[in-house]
Symmetry: C2
Subunit: 238 residues, 2 copies
């Protein structure tokens, strides 16, 4: 077993999402205005969560060590549980889960093909960054939904996703192989663009004026800031 | 979506493992005598469980419908939880999980390469049959272990594994495509042989006399009978 997989866990401070109380009322309103209807929101979020599980399960299958498989398994288990909770919410909201999700499969699968990356490390950092990014985005979007389910939904998105263990394996890999640093930094920047596009496509803009753009901009600025903190936690330049 | 994926669930009676009370004392003793030490037992069982998860996650990634992905996701989540519980038991027994499991990776990975099969249906029936078979075998083996952990271990192996949902998708596929019937029956018979070999290799025989063979035979007869019930549940000839 190579040295960096036997490091003790617990060194890394992964920036957690801010608690609901921290989210400014302005932000909530800004997104609420452009939120899709509840079924479209849930279908997209549930399918994105399934994609995150599939990405994690590929990371497990191709992991270089048994220790990595077991540790990352925790994140896979949590992501599947999250997917299934969102599917239950689709049913509660009166939708047929597969039908509601199928509207978004092409778009999300296309993102997934990019996010897989070229090797284990790129897949791993994609899993780490995208789980954090989409939890963050959907929690903000859910907070502004006018449905009775919004408190439950925010709790689902803000629940533990196992990103700490992913960050630990990434950090260990970067420490061991300094050339990985710049490659993963570049990969993270590229992924950021694709995540932003997928996030924006969830919003319903009545018209594309500079005014509406200006309204959602603060939210996207916050998403970028959180992404930067996740990159910083690994010592990578965002 | 093809018709057979929208069938209502709940038609299939999957034979459950017998409760502990049913297992005859003779069987327990028969296996206990040939049981490996606790760490070897746990390492092998934990890694087999990881393989079952990886097989299920491949089944999810290649599933023909989103409904199948979500439904089979439940089984994947349960199998990862089971793997992680077994890993915890390795730690409790004083072992280093990855080290203990790594002794068995070659042998189990070799089985896995066979069990994947040639397409989605073969992977799916492998997941269904092997989860049932190995839960059954390890529960019997654990029942005879002389350690304080044996009650906990039997409970882990006898817990829900999601095989009902796997059986439902298989049954629907067979109903829809009658030619699948004979192919999957043949596949199940082949897999049975490989599962028996992997199971037997867990036992420690002091010598290979006809006497020791005769002692474990009743247990393997029972394993075959349970396998036959799982095949019967799908209308397949074992």
């Amino acid at each position: 077993m190579v040295k960096w997989f036997s490091r003790k866990p617990g060194r890394i401070e992964v920036p957690r999402l801010r608690s609901r109380a921290d989210a400014s009322a302005t932000e909530k309103v800004a997104l609420a205005e452009f939120a899709p209807d509840i079924l479209a929101f849930l279908g997209r979020a549930a399918y994105v969560q399934l994609m995150i599980f599939e990405n994690l399960s590929r990371v497990i299958s191709t992991a270089p060590t048994t220790a990595a498989k077991t540790a990352i398994g925790k994140a896979a288990e949590l992501s599947m549980a999250k997917h299934r909770k969102l599917v239950d919410e689709i049913t509660k909201a009166g939708g047929s889960p597969a039908e509601v999700m199928d509207t978004f499969t092409n778009e999300v699968d296309q993102f997934d093909r990019i996010a897989r990356g070229a090797d284990w490390y790129e897949s791993l950092i994609s899993a780490y960054l995208s789980a954090g990014f989409f939890d963050d985005f959907y929690a903000r979007l859910a907070a502004g939904l006018p449905t009775e389910s919004h408190t439950r939904l925010v709790a689902i998105f803000r629940a533990e996703s196992g990103e700490k263990v992913l960050a630990e394996f990434l950090q260990a890999a970067i420490d061991e192989n300094p050339r990985l640093d710049s490659r993963l930094a570049m990969w993270g920047r590229r992924l950021m663009g694709d995540m932003m596009l997928l996030a924006r496509s969830a919003l319903v803009f009545p018209d594309h004026t500079r005014n509406t753009e200006a309204q959602v901009e603060p939210v996207f600025t916050e998403l970028v800031a959180s992404h930067t903190r996740r990159m910083d936690a690994l010592g990578l330049t965002a």
